[in-house]
Symmetry: none
DNA sequence: GATGAATGAGAATTCATTCAT
DNA sequence: AATGAATGAATTCTCATTCAT
């Protein structure tokens, strides 16, 4: 279904690609999507040409960064979901998503402004995570740990919102915990 | 406190300035800060030159838009605070801020990316609101309606976060209400 | 039908636009369409921005150059057609087109490679000329000066071809005349 | 005369070189010289590196394509010249050159824009053909079939021009024949 | 004061050519 | 020899800001 015929990719090319993704993630996250591609290339120690060989469009790069993030989160989520009781799993994953999503989240908007094909790759990863979240939510609700009237869209909105709140708070762990307290207590049936 | 000597400003100039702010608010809110200044000028029915005479920098314009929003919110907040019991006032104002802040909120980020002087004008308005929020929070906490361990920073973070959540949800009023339920229930002492 | 509402255009702006066209004609003609826009701007003594304000696309500029050429030719053709007997008019106009069309004629191809809208402006001018040529051809054929089996497409092809031949010949007037002799003698009924 | 010490060239290398020339001829002819080298390499089933090993410059490749064309034409011309009467040989060869030269003829211009060394290889092939054409012209003139005042430069210019005319006409054989009629009748003594 | 033309520093992207594998 | 990844100069176009009218 992911119809691309992926060549093995030479060792050094793979390294460059990985490095580029690494750097782009860092840069986009800390300084926003407005950063010039050239700067990302320089930071990765390659020429612009190389960047564009791997990601034919800035948007493609953006998408690849997102996908990588999503895949990481999906993997960790899967593990937590397997190891913990429904209610705990739900909380742990909620926290996980928040911690992993930190940074300027204009990403999504930047991508939303773009054409559909760019989304194609994202859609898949996105659906995987959403499915996981839906299952976690359902489990927590059956266990009576989360208000039954909430749907997946609200959960996603709350994740996004909590992420924003955390950004505004900076690193103070006590304050962050207080936010989690509010959200988790608010999520419980009332 | 605002050290500038403001001349009276001719009638038509004032009208232009007002119209520009109006339009800029609308445009920035619905289409983001990336919109070219020229387009804003055109939408306001003036030349770019006029825009830049009133707001010597795009960032200045952005700041002015923010200030206007903040002042509106501050005024409405003051009124609500005067009319309602502490607990109700807190909730009403929380909702108010959320509803008024709707739209592409890259604003803040765009401003954050800029130099300190641009903030100067904002700081004042910002402080006014923060003082109001602090008072509301304190009142609600004294009334036992809000967890006592929350500080102003957390409140602000939650406001920002709830705003983001609402954006992700679109216009569905029932879903929006469910988010408010979670947040307000979570804010209560547990 | 030419639906554009043309503003009067300020004096200096008009001068720049004219100069730009002048220079672009010269440059494209002598050095081909590959010349960077920036260089054209420089040669016209303006910044790139100005060039792109007047011609939002390199292709637009190309088109405008063509249109100008075509219009010049059309005007001169009209005059010659009015003043001379059919047979002479035909020859005179044939020569005229050749002399005016000199230069690297990749123009047309460059434009042909582009989208339809760019052609729109050209089409009109092009049709005007083609109508004139059709009339001239018809007149000359009625006068028995040109083979009756030739159609407009062949005439156009011959114009293009003779133009190419002239380019290959450079400025030697005697040689150019010999080419004309061949073509005109060949055009006569046999 | 061609001062390079040519090594025998391994069998597969020779095959690659041939294939490259084949493909480049096709591609340049149908799509113009703007096509990226990489694409030509891909179409030939080799890597760019290989292309550049055989032809150290895009221009070199262009030149080689031209040479190949010229050599083909020269060979066929020689055969026709040997088989036919002077007048017929002249006409047949004229047609031959036209038919073989079809396609986007920016070639020559592209080469003309380049430095002299690239021409060096061409010069030789070019001189061969020109000698043949001179002889054919002379023969036809002696036979009284072609105007005596025409020189080789005019013949070449007419060949180029007729080629252009044909390109403008597309494939319609009747129209093409009408062009030939004009040219051949024009070439006859008047 | 208002206007909108002019400016030019970027920004994304392409492509001939080089070079490590 | 062949490969294709890497390179970076060059190119088109945008947009905040300035300035002549």
């Amino acid at each position: 279904m992911s119809g691309a015929k992926e060549r093995p990719l030479r060792a050094d090319a793979a390294r460059n690609r990985a490095r580029l993704l690494e750097v782009a993630t860092e840069v986009f996250t800390t300084r926003g999507v407005g950063v010039p591609t050239e700067e990302i290339a320089r930071a990765a120690g390659v020429g612009v040409g190389t960047l564009f060989r791997h990601f034919p469009t800035k948007e493609t790069l953006l998408g690849a960064v997102m996908v990588r993030r999503l895949e990481t989160i999906a993997a960790q989520t899967a593990q937590l979901a397997a190891e913990l009781e429904p209610a705990d799993a739900f909380c742990a994953c909620f926290r996980l998503v928040i911690e992993q999503s930190a940074g300027k989240n204009e990403f999504v908007q930047a991508l939303a402004a773009a054409d559909v094909d760019a989304h194609a790759a994202l859609r898949e990863s996105s659906e995987v995570i959403q499915a996981q979240l839906a299952k976690l939510l359902d489990g927590a609700q059956r266990a009576g740990a989360v208000r039954p009237e909430l749907g997946l869209p609200e959960l996603i909105a709350l994740l996004a919102g909590t992420g924003t709140a955390m950004e505004h708070l900076g690193a103070d762990p006590a304050a962050r915990q207080r936010i989690f307290d509010v959200v988790f207590d608010g999520l419980r049936p009332h």
